[in-house]
């Protein structure tokens, strides 16, 4: 049993909530004094690890791809064995909608086929279905009232470019 009575609720707020991004200087000093962090200060705004330049003294150079520009194949390990985030830039695929699993798989497949975004694929499918529906409606209307050389209705769809646009 550690305590018999909880501490009263704190109404002073959390001062750290106004702290700039990253470690405070005091926290960095205390971590460095315990040997838990490199003493070199980092930029507070930086969210990813800075790219390390390859030096000939560290390890033998295998080829030109070792200069730090080649893709990282997996999570690299630091000297202490801690995982480090891959430095390879990767596009985010987060989204805020969810579809049934089987439809979602097909959407992913189409997205990869077109090498575009899910939103673009959905827009394309909706547009194509809209074009098809409009044509069917126009055809049924023209069968009821046959007339030659009728101009296109104002709501007729423009032809959507088949070239996917990323975005």
């Amino acid at each position: 049993m550690s305590k018999t009575k909880p501490a009263p609720y704190d109404a002073n707020g959390f001062e750290g909530a106004h702290q700039a991004r990253g470690l405070s200087e005091k926290a960095r000093e205390r971590l460095a004094s315990k040997g838990l962090i490199a003493k070199t200060p980092q930029k507070a705004e930086r969210t990813t690890a800075p790219r390390r330049k390859a030096s000939s003294g560290d390890r033998p150079v295998k080829g030109s791809s070792e200069a730090g520009t080649g893709p990282v194949k997996g999570p690299s390990e630091t000297a202490a064995g801690l995982p480090r985030r891959s430095r390879k830039a990767r596009s985010l695929r987060a989204r805020h909608f969810r579809l049934p699993i089987e439809i979602d798989d097909k959407l992913q497949d189409l997205t990869e086929t077109y090498d575009s975004t899910m939103v673009w694929v959905i827009c394309k499918l909706i547009h194509e279905d809209w074009v098809r529906t409009r044509r069917a409606m126009r055809r049924s209307t023209s069968e009821d009232q046959p007339s030659e050389g009728q101009p296109a209705a104002p709501g007729d769809p423009p032809d959507l470019s088949s070239t996917p646009t990323k975005g």
Binding site: M1, S2, K3, T4, P6, A7, D10, F14, E15, G16, A17, Q19, A20, R21, G22, L23, S24, K26, A27, R28, R30, L31, K34, G35, L36, I37, A38, Q42, A44, R46, T47, T48, A49, G74, P75, T78, A79, A80, L82, P83, R84, R85, S86, R90, L92, R93, A94, R95, H96, R98, I101
Partner: protein, 195 residues
């Protein structure tokens, strides 16, 4: 075992919890709870630590922050429809890290049996997840552990009549499971005294 808790969430819950509201911790954004356990507050940025056996990160839900972390294991507590659906906002990115994604069903029993049943069915349909077999129950003990700023199993009434309460034992088992999954040895069982 040298351990560091890193609070990336701007609320600083991890630091507040572990420092038990210590005023000095608010200023320094660092708290040394014991020889082997330190807590650091580093809002939105993961510090590059070294020489630590275990790093526990309290990560905000923003995918941009979560993806700056490369853990051995993601732990995602989930409850109900919104919890499941919100997990999907970032799931594809988290799965792409190739780390173990451990989903823990939280607050079991809240909302009725159908909530738990629907969550089970939904989780089964998602590929790539590891779902923790047990469910953390809705528990007064777990809830009040924030009041005491301590582990649920350390609360005064976590051991009623020398028997650990359901909530306290559930969360302790979950912690043991996580540590063993990370490669640590299972602690020896301590026999409970009974009258």
């Amino acid at each position: 075992m040298p351990t560091i808790g890193a609070g990336l969430d701007r609320q600083g819950d991890l630091l507040k919890w572990m420092s038990q509201g210590d005023a000095v911790a608010k200023e320094d954004a660092f708290f040394e709870r014991s020889e082997f356990l330190s807590i650091v507050y580093s809002p939105m940025v993961m510090p590059e630590l070294r020489g630590v056996d275990l790093v526990v990160i309290d990560c905000p839900v923003e995918v941009e922050i979560a993806l700056t972390v490369n853990p051995s294991m993601w732990i995602i507590p989930v409850h109900g429809r919104l919890g499941f659906e919100n997990m999907h906002n970032v799931l594809s990115d988290i799965l792409a890290t190739k780390s173990t994604v451990l989903v823990i069903k939280n607050n079991g029993g809240r909302g009725g049996v159908m909530v738990d049943r629907n969550l089970d069915a939904a989780l089964k349909a998602v590929k790539g997840l590891t779902v923790y077999a047990d469910t953390l129950p809705e528990s007064d003990t777990i809830c009040r552990s924030a009041d005491f700023a301590d582990a649920a199993w350390n609360l005064p009434y976590a051991n009623r009549k020398m028997v650990t309460t359901k909530g306290a034992s559930a969360i302790k088992n979950m912690c043991t499971h996580v540590l063993t999954q990370c490669g640590f040895r299972k602690p020896p069982a301590v026999p409970q005294k009974r009258k």
